[in-house]
Protein backbone atom coordinates (compact mmCIF):
# COMPACT_ATOMS: atom_id res chain seq x y z
CA UNK A 1 0.00 0.00 0.00
CA UNK A 2 1.07 3.56 -0.08
CA UNK A 3 1.60 6.16 2.55
CA UNK A 4 0.75 9.76 2.04
CA UNK A 5 -1.41 10.50 -0.93
CA UNK A 6 -3.08 8.51 -3.65
CA UNK A 7 -4.12 11.73 -5.32
CA UNK A 8 -1.76 12.62 -8.12
CA UNK A 9 1.44 10.79 -8.97
CA UNK A 10 3.51 9.65 -6.02
CA UNK A 11 6.84 9.12 -7.73
CA UNK A 12 7.75 10.92 -10.92
CA UNK A 13 10.91 8.90 -11.46
CA UNK A 14 10.31 5.37 -10.14
CA UNK A 15 13.57 4.00 -11.61
CA UNK A 16 16.33 4.56 -9.09
CA UNK A 17 19.66 5.99 -10.20
CA UNK A 18 22.73 3.83 -9.62
CA UNK A 19 23.65 6.02 -6.61
CA UNK A 20 20.20 5.68 -5.11
CA UNK A 21 20.20 1.93 -5.68
CA UNK A 22 23.56 1.53 -3.97
CA UNK A 23 22.44 3.68 -1.03
CA UNK A 24 19.20 1.71 -0.64
CA UNK A 25 21.06 -1.59 -0.73
CA UNK A 26 23.36 -0.46 2.08
CA UNK A 27 20.43 0.77 4.15
CA UNK A 28 18.54 -2.50 3.62
CA UNK A 29 21.55 -4.43 4.93
CA UNK A 30 21.45 -2.28 8.06
CA UNK A 31 17.72 -2.85 8.30
CA UNK A 32 18.17 -6.63 8.36
CA UNK A 33 20.63 -6.24 11.23
CA UNK A 34 18.19 -3.91 13.02
CA UNK A 35 15.37 -6.42 12.59
CA UNK A 36 17.48 -9.28 13.95
CA UNK A 37 18.49 -7.20 16.98
CA UNK A 38 14.84 -6.47 17.67
CA UNK A 39 13.84 -10.14 17.37
CA UNK A 40 16.55 -11.11 19.87
CA UNK A 41 15.62 -8.30 22.29
CA UNK A 42 11.96 -9.30 22.15
CA UNK A 43 12.81 -12.97 22.76
CA UNK A 44 14.82 -11.93 25.79
CA UNK A 45 11.69 -10.30 27.23
CA UNK A 46 9.60 -13.48 27.04
CA UNK A 47 9.39 -14.25 30.76
CA UNK A 48 8.51 -10.65 31.63
CA UNK A 49 5.92 -10.54 28.85
CA UNK A 50 4.27 -13.76 30.02
CA UNK A 51 3.70 -12.09 33.38
CA UNK A 52 2.27 -8.98 31.68
CA UNK A 53 -0.13 -11.22 29.75
CA UNK A 54 -1.20 -13.02 32.92
CA UNK A 55 -1.82 -9.65 34.59
CA UNK A 56 -3.82 -8.44 31.57
CA UNK A 57 -5.99 -11.56 31.49
CA UNK A 58 -6.65 -11.14 35.20
CA UNK A 59 -7.60 -7.47 34.80
CA UNK A 60 -10.05 -8.03 31.92
CA UNK A 61 -11.78 -10.69 34.03
CA UNK A 62 -12.00 -8.41 37.06
CA UNK A 63 -11.78 -4.70 36.16
CA UNK A 64 -12.92 -5.11 32.56
CA UNK A 65 -11.91 -4.92 28.90
CA UNK A 66 -12.10 -1.59 27.01
CA UNK A 67 -14.44 -2.43 24.14
CA UNK A 68 -15.01 1.24 23.19
CA UNK A 69 -13.56 4.47 24.66
CA UNK A 70 -14.27 4.39 28.42
CA UNK A 71 -16.76 1.53 28.02
CA UNK A 72 -15.58 -1.63 29.72
CA UNK A 73 -16.94 -5.15 29.99
CA UNK A 74 -15.82 -7.82 32.43
CA UNK A 75 -14.85 -10.88 30.41
CA UNK A 76 -16.14 -14.20 31.79
CA UNK A 77 -13.65 -17.02 32.09
CA UNK A 78 -15.31 -19.03 29.31
CA UNK A 79 -14.54 -16.24 26.81
CA UNK A 80 -10.80 -16.57 27.39
CA UNK A 81 -9.49 -18.88 24.67
CA UNK A 82 -7.42 -21.65 26.27
CA UNK A 83 -3.79 -21.48 25.31
CA UNK A 84 -2.95 -24.12 22.72
CA UNK A 85 0.77 -24.29 23.38
CA UNK A 86 1.90 -21.83 20.76
CA UNK A 87 4.66 -19.37 21.71
CA UNK A 88 3.73 -15.74 22.19
CA UNK A 89 5.23 -14.36 18.99
CA UNK A 90 5.26 -10.56 18.80
CA UNK A 91 7.56 -9.78 15.83
CA UNK A 92 6.57 -10.96 12.35
Amino acid sequence: MTLGSLTGKQNLRPEMTADEKAWVEEELKDQIARYETIVKAMEDMTAEREQWVADFLHRVQTRGFHWHAEQRRVIPKEEIRPRDGRPLQVIY
Binding site: M1, L6, K9, R13, L57, F65, H66, H68
Partner: protein, 312 residues
Protein backbone atom coordinates in the same frame (compact mmCIF):
# COMPACT_ATOMS: atom_id res chain seq x y z
CA UNK B 1 5.66 -2.69 -1.39
CA UNK B 2 6.47 -3.62 2.15
CA UNK B 3 8.61 -2.86 5.10
CA UNK B 4 9.54 -5.43 7.77
CA UNK B 5 8.11 -5.24 11.24
CA UNK B 6 10.44 -2.79 13.03
CA UNK B 7 9.23 -2.56 16.61
CA UNK B 8 10.48 -1.29 18.92
CA UNK B 9 13.43 0.80 17.77
CA UNK B 10 14.90 3.79 19.58
CA UNK B 11 16.79 6.22 17.39
CA UNK B 12 18.77 7.52 20.38
CA UNK B 13 20.53 4.14 20.44
CA UNK B 14 22.31 4.75 17.13
CA UNK B 15 24.45 7.53 15.71
CA UNK B 16 23.76 9.80 12.78
CA UNK B 17 25.21 9.04 9.37
CA UNK B 18 26.25 11.71 6.93
CA UNK B 19 24.10 11.86 3.80
CA UNK B 20 26.56 11.45 0.96
CA UNK B 21 24.31 10.23 -1.84
CA UNK B 22 25.00 12.08 -5.08
CA UNK B 23 22.60 14.95 -5.66
CA UNK B 24 21.59 15.33 -2.04
CA UNK B 25 22.55 18.57 -0.28
CA UNK B 26 25.45 18.84 2.14
CA UNK B 27 24.93 19.31 5.86
CA UNK B 28 22.35 16.57 6.28
CA UNK B 29 22.79 13.70 8.74
CA UNK B 30 20.28 10.91 9.14
CA UNK B 31 19.19 7.78 10.98
CA UNK B 32 17.07 5.37 8.96
CA UNK B 33 14.08 4.14 10.94
CA UNK B 34 12.49 1.88 8.33
CA UNK B 35 12.69 1.35 4.61
CA UNK B 36 10.51 -0.24 1.98
CA UNK B 37 12.38 -3.22 0.58
CA UNK B 38 11.03 -2.72 -2.94
CA UNK B 39 11.12 0.96 -3.75
CA UNK B 40 13.42 2.49 -1.11
CA UNK B 41 10.70 4.63 0.49
CA UNK B 42 12.10 5.57 3.85
CA UNK B 43 11.41 7.19 7.21
CA UNK B 44 14.37 8.99 8.73
CA UNK B 45 15.36 11.16 11.65
CA UNK B 46 17.29 13.97 9.98
CA UNK B 47 19.64 16.48 11.55
CA UNK B 48 20.12 19.50 9.33
CA UNK B 49 23.40 20.98 10.52
CA UNK B 50 23.76 24.61 11.56
CA UNK B 51 24.58 26.44 8.35
CA UNK B 52 22.68 23.95 6.16
CA UNK B 53 21.76 25.36 2.76
CA UNK B 54 19.75 23.81 -0.06
CA UNK B 55 19.02 25.63 -3.33
CA UNK B 56 15.49 25.65 -4.78
CA UNK B 57 14.51 22.22 -6.10
CA UNK B 58 12.21 19.26 -5.82
CA UNK B 59 12.13 15.63 -4.77
CA UNK B 60 10.86 13.17 -7.36
CA UNK B 61 8.65 11.48 -4.83
CA UNK B 62 6.27 12.69 -2.16
CA UNK B 63 7.82 13.97 1.08
CA UNK B 64 6.64 14.89 4.54
CA UNK B 65 8.79 16.89 6.97
CA UNK B 66 8.12 17.44 10.67
CA UNK B 67 10.35 19.81 12.64
CA UNK B 68 11.11 18.48 16.14
CA UNK B 69 13.73 20.93 17.34
CA UNK B 70 15.56 23.98 16.01
CA UNK B 71 14.40 25.84 12.94
CA UNK B 72 14.39 25.38 9.20
CA UNK B 73 13.99 28.28 6.84
CA UNK B 74 11.68 27.39 3.93
CA UNK B 75 11.89 30.32 1.55
CA UNK B 76 10.92 33.29 3.69
CA UNK B 77 9.11 31.18 6.26
CA UNK B 78 10.88 30.07 9.44
CA UNK B 79 9.61 26.63 10.40
CA UNK B 80 10.07 25.99 14.12
CA UNK B 81 9.28 22.91 16.18
CA UNK B 82 5.89 21.46 15.41
CA UNK B 83 5.95 22.60 11.79
CA UNK B 84 4.67 20.07 9.26
CA UNK B 85 5.16 20.13 5.50
CA UNK B 86 3.48 17.86 2.97
CA UNK B 87 5.27 18.09 -0.37
CA UNK B 88 3.69 16.34 -3.36
CA UNK B 89 6.07 14.63 -5.78
CA UNK B 90 7.88 17.20 -7.90
CA UNK B 91 6.71 20.20 -5.84
CA UNK B 92 9.37 22.88 -6.06
CA UNK B 93 10.72 23.90 -2.68
CA UNK B 94 12.21 27.35 -2.28
CA UNK B 95 15.74 27.71 -1.01
CA UNK B 96 16.02 26.10 2.41
CA UNK B 97 18.52 26.79 5.16
CA UNK B 98 19.08 26.46 8.86
CA UNK B 99 21.15 28.87 10.93
CA UNK B 100 20.94 26.96 14.21
CA UNK B 101 20.29 23.47 12.84
CA UNK B 102 17.06 21.50 12.88
CA UNK B 103 16.10 18.03 14.06
CA UNK B 104 13.33 16.70 11.82
CA UNK B 105 11.46 13.59 10.88
CA UNK B 106 11.50 13.14 7.12
CA UNK B 107 9.32 10.71 5.20
CA UNK B 108 9.99 9.84 1.56
CA UNK B 109 6.76 8.05 0.78
CA UNK B 110 7.23 6.36 -2.56
CA UNK B 111 10.91 6.09 -3.32
CA UNK B 112 14.43 6.81 -2.15
CA UNK B 113 15.51 10.35 -1.26
CA UNK B 114 16.21 12.50 -4.28
CA UNK B 115 16.81 16.16 -5.00
CA UNK B 116 16.79 17.99 -8.31
CA UNK B 117 17.79 21.64 -8.37
CA UNK B 118 14.98 23.66 -9.97
CA UNK B 119 13.03 26.84 -9.37
CA UNK B 120 9.85 25.36 -10.87
CA UNK B 121 7.66 22.35 -10.24
CA UNK B 122 8.28 19.17 -12.20
CA UNK B 123 6.01 19.19 -15.27
CA UNK B 124 3.97 16.29 -13.89
CA UNK B 125 3.62 17.69 -10.38
CA UNK B 126 0.14 17.81 -8.89
CA UNK B 127 0.59 20.24 -6.04
CA UNK B 128 -2.94 20.41 -4.67
CA UNK B 129 -2.13 18.43 -1.52
CA UNK B 130 0.72 20.72 -0.53
CA UNK B 131 0.40 21.65 3.14
CA UNK B 132 2.44 23.77 5.53
CA UNK B 133 1.24 24.25 9.10
CA UNK B 134 2.64 24.68 12.57
CA UNK B 135 0.81 21.84 14.27
CA UNK B 136 1.68 23.06 17.79
CA UNK B 137 0.28 26.51 17.11
CA UNK B 138 -2.39 26.21 14.47
CA UNK B 139 -4.27 22.99 15.14
CA UNK B 140 -6.52 21.90 18.00
CA UNK B 141 -6.44 18.57 19.77
CA UNK B 142 -9.54 16.55 19.00
CA UNK B 143 -11.12 13.53 20.57
CA UNK B 144 -10.88 10.27 18.74
CA UNK B 145 -13.88 9.93 16.43
CA UNK B 146 -13.19 6.30 15.54
CA UNK B 147 -15.54 3.52 16.57
CA UNK B 148 -14.52 1.66 18.55
CA UNK B 149 -12.30 4.36 20.00
CA UNK B 150 -9.20 4.37 22.12
CA UNK B 151 -9.66 5.03 25.82
CA UNK B 152 -10.15 8.61 27.05
CA UNK B 153 -6.89 10.51 27.35
CA UNK B 154 -5.67 9.87 23.81
CA UNK B 155 -6.09 12.90 21.52
CA UNK B 156 -5.30 13.62 17.88
CA UNK B 157 -4.32 16.43 15.52
CA UNK B 158 -4.79 15.49 11.88
CA UNK B 159 -1.91 16.61 9.67
CA UNK B 160 -2.73 14.86 6.41
CA UNK B 161 -5.67 12.71 5.36
CA UNK B 162 -5.93 10.97 2.02
CA UNK B 163 -9.50 11.16 0.80
CA UNK B 164 -9.16 7.98 -1.25
CA UNK B 165 -7.32 5.57 1.01
CA UNK B 166 -8.08 7.24 4.36
CA UNK B 167 -4.38 6.88 5.10
CA UNK B 168 -3.31 9.63 7.46
CA UNK B 169 -0.52 11.43 9.24
CA UNK B 170 -1.37 12.75 12.68
CA UNK B 171 -0.01 13.90 16.00
CA UNK B 172 -1.29 12.03 19.01
CA UNK B 173 -0.82 12.39 22.71
CA UNK B 174 -1.63 10.37 25.78
CA UNK B 175 -2.13 11.90 29.20
CA UNK B 176 0.13 10.82 32.06
CA UNK B 177 -1.34 7.70 33.62
CA UNK B 178 -3.15 6.68 30.42
CA UNK B 179 -4.21 3.06 30.29
CA UNK B 180 -6.27 0.95 27.90
CA UNK B 181 -6.97 -2.70 28.59
CA UNK B 182 -7.48 -4.25 25.18
CA UNK B 183 -5.41 -5.66 22.35
CA UNK B 184 -5.70 -3.97 18.97
CA UNK B 185 -4.80 -4.59 15.35
CA UNK B 186 -5.60 -2.79 12.12
CA UNK B 187 -6.15 -3.56 8.43
CA UNK B 188 -3.37 -1.12 7.56
CA UNK B 189 0.25 -0.63 8.42
CA UNK B 190 0.90 1.78 11.26
CA UNK B 191 3.99 3.83 11.98
CA UNK B 192 4.79 6.08 14.92
CA UNK B 193 7.62 8.05 16.46
CA UNK B 194 7.78 9.38 20.01
CA UNK B 195 8.64 13.07 19.97
CA UNK B 196 8.57 13.09 23.74
CA UNK B 197 7.50 10.79 26.56
CA UNK B 198 6.97 7.10 27.05
CA UNK B 199 4.35 4.52 26.30
CA UNK B 200 4.13 0.85 27.11
CA UNK B 201 2.62 -2.04 25.22
CA UNK B 202 2.26 -5.56 26.51
CA UNK B 203 4.16 -7.09 23.57
CA UNK B 204 7.05 -4.65 23.29
CA UNK B 205 7.58 -3.04 26.69
CA UNK B 206 8.29 0.66 27.20
CA UNK B 207 9.07 2.92 24.25
CA UNK B 208 10.81 6.16 25.30
CA UNK B 209 11.47 9.50 23.58
CA UNK B 210 12.93 8.71 20.17
CA UNK B 211 11.07 5.41 20.12
CA UNK B 212 9.74 4.24 16.78
CA UNK B 213 7.77 1.44 15.18
CA UNK B 214 6.67 0.34 11.75
CA UNK B 215 4.02 -2.31 12.26
CA UNK B 216 2.42 -4.19 9.35
CA UNK B 217 -1.31 -4.90 9.38
CA UNK B 218 -3.00 -7.47 11.63
CA UNK B 219 -0.25 -7.60 14.27
CA UNK B 220 -1.41 -7.52 17.88
CA UNK B 221 -0.42 -4.55 20.00
CA UNK B 222 -1.69 -3.60 23.43
CA UNK B 223 -2.81 -3.46 26.12
CA UNK B 224 -1.46 0.07 26.52
CA UNK B 225 -0.23 2.44 29.21
CA UNK B 226 1.75 5.64 29.54
CA UNK B 227 3.33 6.65 32.80
CA UNK B 228 4.51 10.19 31.97
CA UNK B 229 2.37 10.80 28.89
CA UNK B 230 3.57 11.07 25.30
CA UNK B 231 3.55 13.31 22.26
CA UNK B 232 4.01 11.33 19.06
CA UNK B 233 3.51 11.42 15.31
CA UNK B 234 1.70 8.54 13.66
CA UNK B 235 0.91 7.45 10.12
CA UNK B 236 -1.17 4.78 8.43
CA UNK B 237 -1.31 3.58 4.84
CA UNK B 238 -5.06 3.03 4.85
CA UNK B 239 -8.25 3.23 6.87
CA UNK B 240 -7.56 2.82 10.59
CA UNK B 241 -10.14 0.59 12.25
CA UNK B 242 -9.48 -0.54 15.81
CA UNK B 243 -10.11 -4.28 15.89
CA UNK B 244 -10.09 -4.70 19.67
CA UNK B 245 -10.00 -8.10 21.35
CA UNK B 246 -8.49 -9.86 24.35
CA UNK B 247 -6.63 -12.87 22.91
CA UNK B 248 -2.87 -12.31 23.36
CA UNK B 249 -1.97 -15.35 21.29
CA UNK B 250 -3.88 -14.76 18.05
CA UNK B 251 -1.75 -14.70 14.89
CA UNK B 252 -1.89 -12.09 12.09
CA UNK B 253 -3.62 -14.69 9.90
CA UNK B 254 -6.30 -15.31 12.54
CA UNK B 255 -6.69 -11.58 13.01
CA UNK B 256 -7.16 -11.01 9.27
CA UNK B 257 -9.76 -13.77 9.16
CA UNK B 258 -11.59 -12.23 12.11
CA UNK B 259 -11.55 -8.85 10.33
CA UNK B 260 -13.00 -10.47 7.20
CA UNK B 261 -15.68 -12.19 9.29
CA UNK B 262 -16.62 -8.80 10.70
CA UNK B 263 -16.86 -7.37 7.20
CA UNK B 264 -19.18 -10.23 6.22
CA UNK B 265 -21.37 -9.49 9.25
CA UNK B 266 -21.38 -5.72 8.96
CA UNK B 267 -21.52 -5.30 5.16
CA UNK B 268 -23.02 -8.58 3.94
CA UNK B 269 -24.25 -7.20 0.62
CA UNK B 270 -20.84 -5.84 -0.32
CA UNK B 271 -19.07 -8.97 0.94
CA UNK B 272 -21.31 -11.19 -1.17
CA UNK B 273 -20.95 -8.90 -4.17
CA UNK B 274 -17.13 -9.07 -3.96
CA UNK B 275 -17.12 -12.85 -3.67
CA UNK B 276 -19.53 -13.44 -6.52
CA UNK B 277 -19.85 -12.28 -10.09
CA UNK B 278 -16.22 -13.08 -10.90
CA UNK B 279 -14.86 -9.87 -9.51
CA UNK B 280 -11.25 -10.82 -9.96
CA UNK B 281 -10.38 -7.25 -10.83
CA UNK B 282 -10.62 -3.91 -9.06
CA UNK B 283 -14.21 -2.68 -9.29
CA UNK B 284 -14.68 0.33 -11.52
CA UNK B 285 -15.05 3.60 -9.58
CA UNK B 286 -16.97 6.04 -11.75
CA UNK B 287 -15.64 8.94 -9.70
CA UNK B 288 -12.03 7.81 -10.07
CA UNK B 289 -11.93 5.96 -13.39
CA UNK B 290 -8.18 6.35 -13.80
CA UNK B 291 -7.11 4.88 -10.49
CA UNK B 292 -4.76 2.08 -11.21
CA UNK B 293 -3.91 0.71 -7.77
CA UNK B 294 -4.87 -2.94 -7.90
CA UNK B 295 -4.49 -4.78 -4.57
CA UNK B 296 -4.40 -8.06 -6.48
CA UNK B 297 -1.39 -6.86 -8.47
CA UNK B 298 0.36 -4.62 -5.95
CA UNK B 299 1.98 -6.09 -2.90
CA UNK B 300 -0.37 -4.84 -0.22
CA UNK B 301 2.47 -4.37 2.20
CA UNK B 302 2.27 -6.10 5.46
CA UNK B 303 4.14 -9.10 6.75
CA UNK B 304 7.40 -10.29 5.21
CA UNK B 305 7.83 -13.98 6.07
CA UNK B 306 11.19 -15.39 7.15
CA UNK B 307 11.59 -16.97 3.69
CA UNK B 308 11.25 -13.52 2.12
CA UNK B 309 7.72 -14.01 0.83
CA UNK B 310 5.09 -11.40 1.61
CA UNK B 311 1.76 -11.93 3.34
CA UNK B 312 -1.13 -11.54 2.69
Amino acid sequence: MARPHIEPFVDRDVGFKKMTMAGMPNGMQYKTLSMDTDNGAVTMTVQYDAGFKQPPGFCYNEMEIFVQEGSLKYGDQVCVKGHYLFLPAGKAMPAMSSDEGALCLVFYNNGAPSFEESDANHDACDEKNFASVNSYDGLDWTGNALFPATAPGCLLKMLHYDEKTHGMTFLYCMVPGFWQDNISYHDCAEEAYHIWGDSWMMQFGTLPTGGYFWRPAYINHGCFASERGILAIGRTDGDLHNHFHHDPYSSPQENAERAAARLARQKPAMYKWILTQDHNHVPHDFENPHDHVDPMEADTAQVIQPDGSHWP
